[in-house]
Amino acid sequence: MISIRDLTFSFSDGESPVLRRLNLDFASGEFALICGPTGSGKSTLLRALNGLIPHHSSGLLSGEVFIDGIQYAGKQPHEVAHLIGFVNQQPEGAFVTDTVLEELAYGMEQLGIAEPVMRERIEKFADLFGLTDLLDSNLDSLSGGQQQRVAIAAALIAGQQILLLDEPTSALDVESAHQLLLLLKELSRSQGITVLLAEHRIERVLDLVDSVTVVHGDGSASKAVTSDGLDAVLRNYKMVPPVIELAQKLAWQPIPLNVASAKSSWEKKPGTISPKPAAKPGERLLSAQSITVKYGMTKAVSDASFELHAGSISALVGPNGSGKSSLLWALQGSLEFSGQVLLSGGETPANYSAQARLKHLALVPQNASDLLVLGSIAQELEDSDAFADAPQGTTAEIFRRLAGRLDPSRHPRDLSSGQQLALVLSIQLAKGASIIVLDEPTRGLDYEAKRKLAAQLTELKSQGKCILIASHDVEFVAVVADDVMLLRNGEIAAKGTASYVLPTLSDHAPQVWQVTRAAMTVGEVEP
């Protein structure tokens, strides 16, 4: 179906290529995973296939891409639109129209498909993707999962046989992401669609796909089919999901790709479990009593009560829209709520000015880079010291402990997402807040960056900070959190230690727990 020959791409002449003489083949109906660290060239590869590279970015592309024997590399995206559907990370930014119906029709209109055929296709695809009742809905009123389904339907509705997806699950919660992956599997299996999926969160993907292509970041890529030879490809690839990490640690052969086969490997060759020692909670720093947040008539959070302690990491988990963010912003004090938030001294954050609040509680939002405003790391660090009335170098020291030594003249926008997060975290810590609240901190981070973040948060915890994170990344929560609160429809459905709450998520529980039924993370298992 797709044959890539000697494909080379570099952003400018003389720069080392992002893709170097790639040769890859994808069969018709293949469900292919393309993984690799952030910035390794996964997106570049997808975009080069449909012409967005080089036509919507600068750079030099050479080599050939054959689709059913015809060379397409270098063509404009609209010239291959009838063959290839493309779905982006954020569907809401890629929608061209207002309603589901118009969005489904748009591509077919551009390709000149006759009206009766269009109506027939829309009916069929709406049925296939479960959109029939939503046809007249406005796109911005849909949930993230629904939006992605519309985007995929719209990308295939004109009869395209190839679907390219660039991290489509990054904004979705575990359940919606899982549904989406099953849908993709179904499309490749029963409709014969060739699906190329770029992802760095691969723990729930591996056992669904037919092949794995690792883009290494040095311009090269290696591909293996999942039934054979995957061990070799993944061995060189350090960023593997928990199940595979476990398999590597316990030297299981062959490497199990899903929980079910890992379970049988565990039965044959189990490890010994030394559970993480339970955290000794420090002094109580915050107590929240019956927090209720309302948007008009709808309750985003209802009657949430809990306490946060020094030297501990707590996590809020729950699907998108369950009220995690609202609860965080209410705690921080910039969102109106009823109920009470008391700090250890008996004060309420909302009564403080924004500046005074930062001495007690600091929030790092989802798009952390929005907080970065100046032209270099050095300027940001100095500005932060001045603003916090802290001795010169305070923020720089915090940043160094979190992120290591970085060239201070670098522009904050040129840092990786993980480094930006560390910089924002340092700035927010400079005023001496003892409570740090982070909203979805792992969004957009690859395994390596997540590992670093986990180490940073643990370091802060050992300094006696109280940390609260909202996340739908259960594997990350399993690694860092002492306590977990599960939010459902704005209510705290369960709370307690991580080892008590996380197993109640059954199918969405941490993979290592699903396999071992005792340990939460690979770190707790020894051969």
């Binding site: 404009q76 061209v96 000149g112 009206e115 924004a354 603003f387």
Partner: protein, 328 residues
Amino acid sequence: MRQLKTKAEVLNTTTWWGLGTSMALAASLSYSQLFLASLAVVSVILIATFAAKGKREPALRIYMSLALAVVLIRLAFRIVFNTANPTEATLLSLPQVSLTIFGQTTNYFGAVSIQSLHDGLTDGLRLAAIILGIAMANSVANPRKLLRSTPSALYEVATAAAVAINLAPQLLVSLQRVRKARALRGTATSLRNLGGLLIPVLEDSIQRSLDLAASMDSRGFGRRGVMNRRTAAISRTASLLGVVGLAIAGYLLLATGVAAWITVLLFVLSLGLFYTSIRLSAIHSIRTRLSVEKRSWADYLVLVFCAAVVVAMAANQLPGLGTSGWLK
């Protein structure tokens, strides 16, 4: 009669944009404070009546404050950069400050005449009316919808327009998000960090606009049927010349000292070029429509009225044609 889903659907998307641009055009040609003020008020009423529920309040708040700011700045300019005219009645007597920079002396403040403030108010009102006219079209009728019905001859222009049109509303969304995030740092928005506020906002908005253009392209926008090279070249040249012609004609209309017939001729020529280009590519267009937004008699009525007003006012501007001075 067809069931209307939103109030704005009483008129076609193109009609709303026709109305908005006509109001802006009329405003740019008028010197009457009363006329300009009524244009502004009409725009505000239209937004309040026809814009979708969630969009109405933010649109009114933002565009009205922008319009007000423009009027105030214009008036302030008249006071600060003052050129006192002794023949005019003085309203306000301020001490005059003369500054000599690079050998050039400029006077600031001094006696402010009624006439000067009156002119300043007219200038301000004109800009405000233009802003509100376009804002009206933008908030009542989705610009993306307008873009969908762009002829494919204007592909390059339309892609650029997609990026540009989407930018303004996107700027507002990004601005709100970044400001909310910045408040977390406890930093007040001062002039010093205004640049810091603008950079993430601009980066975000431009990125999203480019994403939209990329998405449209990936879905087949800009695709045309088999058109030989020559026809394609003619079509493209014609649309390009049309744009240049219109721009020059617009300038001539406002400039003085050019014979009226040249301006009129240039207008007609440019429109002719546009028409040719669109016709040429329409023959080769492969695009189909799921449902065509039909124009009703109301649409035609509004459009004809708009065209009549704009033509009459333009004629009024041309030396030798309009002498009546109505609306002036």
